[in-house]
Amino acid sequence: MSLPQFRILQPLTLDEACRMLDEHGSESMIIAGGTDVIPNLQMRLFAPRVLIDIKPLRELAKIELSRDGLRIGAAATLTHALETPWLGEKFPVLSSAISTIAGPLQRNMGTIGGNLCLETRCRWYNQSKFWRQSLGGCLKKDGDICHVAPGGKFCWAAWSGDSAPAFLALGAEVEIASAAGTRRIPLEKFYKNDGKDRIALARNEILTAVHVTASMSGRRGVYHKLRVRDSIDYPLAGVAVAMDVDSTGVCRDARVALSAVNPAPMLVRAAAESLIGKKWSRELAEEIAHVAIRTGKPLTTSGSTPVYRRDMVRVFTRRALEEVWNSAQQSS
């Protein structure tokens, strides 16, 4: 379907972007790479009257490392992140996750901010206007029935971004700007675990950057992603692990996060306390893997079966832990 009619505004500064947002409020929408917004507009999942294009704002496109840590501007492209060599060395879980996002063309256009603000996805929602109308809509759009969990009043559309679990595993914070000023919140608090209302971003706010503290630098990590095609697909499940392993092979700190099995990317809370102070063992990894399963609640929002996706959360968690511990072993 052709695009709906909209005006596109190109602010020259972040301040101007914030003023535009204030002015147009709920009739507007931020666009950066457009890899998520444009297909969704064609499907008429929404029809804002104004698009505010933040892609040209150079102040939002930087990737910097300082004494405070890492700061990635929201409008930095995914390719830019991958082609920043020190990023992968210091924060391997990030490059591991970002390299799995869509394909090279989408990564050239798509941004870190866009990936952190991705729309939640569901097979009953990401469809054309004709398709959705023939069904009478769904809880997330134009209807009052959830086809995933009939009778329920909660939208289960799945979080389908790959970079968010990696940032969660590094305890990242996000920087949010509005005409009123700037605030910083933990990334974990940014996600609301509601398919219909996914992120804690007010209508007049822009996600401007994501921060990782300096202490996370050098932390080992990896992201394992379940998908059918390595070339392009969204995750059907994803597991990110970041861990601090000392020279004796003992885990000093660890975080495990999941993607695509809930309406939000989610930390496996109990994982850290079980891991800290322990050495690698397969039994321990299996124990954590079973803990991870309890955090993931996949439903039939996407192609594969919930049973299989849960299974893979278990297998991938164990394998990711093994891989991270092995890499520590090899380098020590």
Binding site: S2, R229, D230, Y308
Partner: protein, 782 residues
């Protein structure tokens, strides 16, 4: 070729040659239907039914018609004559007249000055539907007692065929091992990169010119004439560049008729291009197929009998349906020497988009079942599955149990080639757990020996003209759809006339300029248009030789055409350049016009039973494949490490394009084997996009080792047979059999997704535990 063409000394035949349209495609200057634009052109859009089965009480078009920019609104009343690709299946209308029969069925169409206005107009159409009960499962649909999808098709059965050859009961009695299984193949779509597009231009003197993404311009020409009630002589059909067909453009697609109806109504040019979702709604892919199969073999590995009950979920319209279900029967056993075959085929209607003639038409899903079962029986009998295939080979030339004439049979060589190349002996059953190899074979027709509309006219005609510029212009009706049709004919004409390929100009698939060809389907083009082109080129060569021979004072039979010269075969100094030869010939004949035709010989047209018309072909291609896979037993993920595919194409006129066709077939088979599946829920397609309908991309594609086998068919042009479809069917069972070799489970349902493998492994584990418990003697139990 029996007729004076030796296999030696070719200049152009057998040489790898880039396709004639490659530069235009790669640089983007080539024009596909949607690239076409003419002044005043309107954009057409189609309103689709939101209901799977509904009576249309009324359609209010007034608000849409009143919208500024809307130039025409059409409904079923504007094109009342039914049509369909088969004469026995005229059950379609481009726009529904009385009922909508699936979600996505075509209800009305609008033409407007922009796509946006046309889309707005669709929202203003008011359709009053009365919902009707619908059927989605073919085995349920067959039980329907009333309210049938088409009133003239009781119990929603489009067609059924029951064939018995030999004595299956006796055959099963002679078997030492008999297997019986149910196989299931999900629905797949061609997913051609170019979505369907049609530009219909209304012209002065009430003429209509139609540019359309079609594999069958001739059938489109006929259908427009019938539906628009215009004589064929007033209609011109042109096939532009095509971005892939694979059978998805081999019958009349609703947008083609809708564009013509809107053009006629508005007296304007109207273009309609499908969205990807609409491609899935128009569908015409491979149907869901359920195969109840029973095969018997002796201890020595000889197949004694085959019995199949095949149910195909055809969707809401006939399409090619009866042909599909007949191919499934005709090709089921005919690849091997099998005397006793029983076949019961059912084509069933359901409230879903119509299926069609997808690459490997009718043979793919039964081949998956048969080759899987042969593997299973070989293991039961303790035999090497590759050896079992050797044991059951035909002895060509021969006539199969179901009256198919086999003239050339390269399957034995295909099997030996993959046996050697795969190092089969060292690998089969000997690889570590998780790794495996599997073998399977397939075959296909080189064109249908009987035309869709029965007649004794040629299936294809080629004209060649040469004038004072000494350029050779070939006029052919054959449709280049990416498979190499144009290049193949250029090569044949250049070879016969002894000129370089640059001298050949090819005009193709334009009904005003080119003679008839039935179309690019059933892999008929190389064999049929190739032979017609060969005959036309020989006719032209004979005319030139007659004139030059007179001038040189020698018999025409002493002349050869080579290197842009016509010269004496033993005294090459005695000769003239091609340009001179043309001048001599024009002085002699006045005009240089040649023609060639092809129709399959009577002996190739098959038996006399009901349904015998489908399956016969002038020649058959053969393929043998070995797949090597790695299965992760913990995730069920299958990685296909390599596929070795040997294909008997008779003679590779252009080895480069033959290899391309083998690779393309294997790639499509790979997709169906592991990941492609149209997912339905209550008649609603859950994945109508290339994001969710997961064709493999380059990254997923396995390494393919293609081997060309040349059996030199006695009737093919230079010995050539088909190369574009036959390899697909072997890929799926080769992968399935390799999975069995790797982890010991048989998955009888495609696509073989990781969750199915895990489930089977777990079931085996449980059964294994049970078996262990059961095997304990009562005494030994605690």
């Amino acid at each position: 070729m029996a007729d004076g063409v030796s296999q030696n000394g070719f200049s152009i035949i057998g040489k790898p040659l880039a396709m004639a349209d490659a530069v235009a495609k790669v640089t983007g200057i080539g024009k596909y239907a949607d690239d076409l634009y003419v002044p005043g052109m309107l954009i057409g859009k189609i309103l689709h039914s939101p209901h799977p089965h509904a009576r249309i009480r009324s359609i209010d078009t007034s608000r849409a018609e009143a919208l500024a920019g809307v130039k025409a609104v059409a409904t079923g009343n504007d094109a009342r004559n039914p049509y369909g690709i088969l004469p026995i299946g005229h059950d379609e209308r481009a726009l529904a007249l009385d009922k909508a029969r699936y979600i996505g069925d075509n209800v009305a169409a609008v033409a407007a000055t922009s796509a946006e206005i046309a889309e707005q107009a669709l929202d203003l159409l008011r359709v009053d539907y009365e919902r009707l009960p619908a059927w989605f499962d073919p085995e349920e649909s067959m039980k329907a007692e009333s309210g049938w999808i088409h009133e003239q098709r009781p119990h929603n059965i489009e067609k059924e065929y029951h064939h018995v050859f030999g004595d299956p009961e006796k055959g099963f009695a002679e078997a030492d091992f008999v297997a019986e299984e149910r196989y299931y193949a999900g629905e797949v779509n061609q997913a051609a990169m170019e979505p369907h597009s049609t530009l219909a231009i209304w012209e002065p003197h009430d003429r209509l010119t139609v540019h359309s993404s079609t594999q069958v311009p001739f059938y489109l020409h006929r259908t427009i004439s019938e539906v628009c009630e215009m004589p064929m002589s007033q209609i011109r059909v042109i096939k532009p560049l095509i971005g892939g067909g694979f059978g998805g453009k081999s019958e009349i697609i609703p947008l083609e008729v809708a564009a013509c109806v809107l053009a006629k109504k508005s007296h304007k040019p109207v273009k309609i291009t499908y969205t990807r979702e609409e491609v899935f709604l128009a569908h015409r892919g491979r149907p869901i197929t359920i195969v109840y199969l029973k095969v018997g073999i002796t201890r020595a590995g000889k197949i004694t009998a085959v019995q199949a009950r095949v149910i195909q979920d055809g969707g809401a319209y006939c399409g090619y349906g009866p042909v599909t279900v007949l191919y499934s029967g005709a090709l089921l056993g005919a690849i091997y020497d099998i005397a006793n075959v029983r076949y019961d085929g059912f084509r069933v209607l359901t409230n879903k988009p119509a299926c069609g003639a997808m690459r490997g038409h009718g043979t793919v899903n039964v081949r998956f079942a048969f080759e899987s079962m042969l593997d299973q029986l070989a293991h039961q009998a303790g035999l090497d599955p590759l050896e079992v295939r050797r044991i059951n080979l035909l002895k060509a030339p021969c006539i199969t149990a179901n009256s198919l004439r086999v003239t050339s049979y390269g399957l034995p060589e295909c099997i030996e080639k993959v046996f050697e190349r795969s190092n089969w002996k060292e690998k089969k059953g000997k690889l570590p757990y998780g790794k495996g190899v599997g073998v399977a074979c397939s075959h296909y027709v080189s064109g249908a020996a009987n035309p869709i509309v029965r007649s004794n006219m040629p299936h294809t005609t080629v004209h060649i003209k040469i004038d004072r510029d000494a350029a050779v212009t070939v006029y052919t009706g054959a449709s280049e759809i990416g498979q190499g049709s144009d290049t193949m004919q250029i090569q044949i004409a250049a070879e016969v006339l002894g000129v370089g390929v640059n001298r050949i100009k090819l005009v193709a698939a334009d009904t005003e300029l080119t003679p008839i060809d039935l179309g690019s389907y059933s892999s008929r083009v190389t064999f049929m248009a190739g032979n017609a082109c060969l005959n036309a080129a020989k006719d032209m060569r004979d005319q030139i030789f007659a004139a030059v021979a007179k001038k040189l004072g020698c018999p025409p039979a002493d002349l050869v055409a080579k290197n842009d010269r016509i010269a004496h075969s033993t005294d090459s100094a005695k000769g003239v350049s091609f340009d001179e030869a043309v001048a001599i010939a024009l002085e002699f004949h006045g005009a240089l016009v040649a023609r060639g035709t092809y129709a399959p010989p009577e002996s190739a047209r098959g038996g006399n039973f009901r349904g015998a018309g489908v399956g016969p072909s002038p020649a058959y291609s053969y393929s043998a494949q070995v797949a090597e896979v790695t299965v992760d037993p913990e995730t069920g993920h299958v990685h296909v490490d390599k596929i070795i595919a040997a294909h008997d194409c008779g003679k590779a006129l252009n080895p480069l394009t033959v290899e391309g066709q083998i690779e393309g077939s294997v790639y499509m088979g790979f997709g169906q084997a592991l990941q492609e599946d149209m997912v339905w829920q209550d008649g609603r397609l859950m994945n109508p996009s290339l994001l969710e309908y997961r064709i493999p991309a380059t990254k997923e594609n396995p390494q393919i080792d293609s081997i060309v086998v040349e059996s030199i068919d006695p009737e093919g042009p230079f010995g050539a047979k088909e190369a574009g479809e036959g390899s697909l069917a072997a890929t799926i069972p080769a992968i399935a059999n390799a999975i069995y070799d790797a982890v010991g489970v048989r998955i009888n349902s495609v696509p073989i997704t990781p969750d199915k493998i895990l489930e089977a492994l777990r079931a085996r584990e449980k059964a294994g535990q049970r078996a262990e418990t059961n095997s304990l003697t009562p005494e030994a139990r605690p």
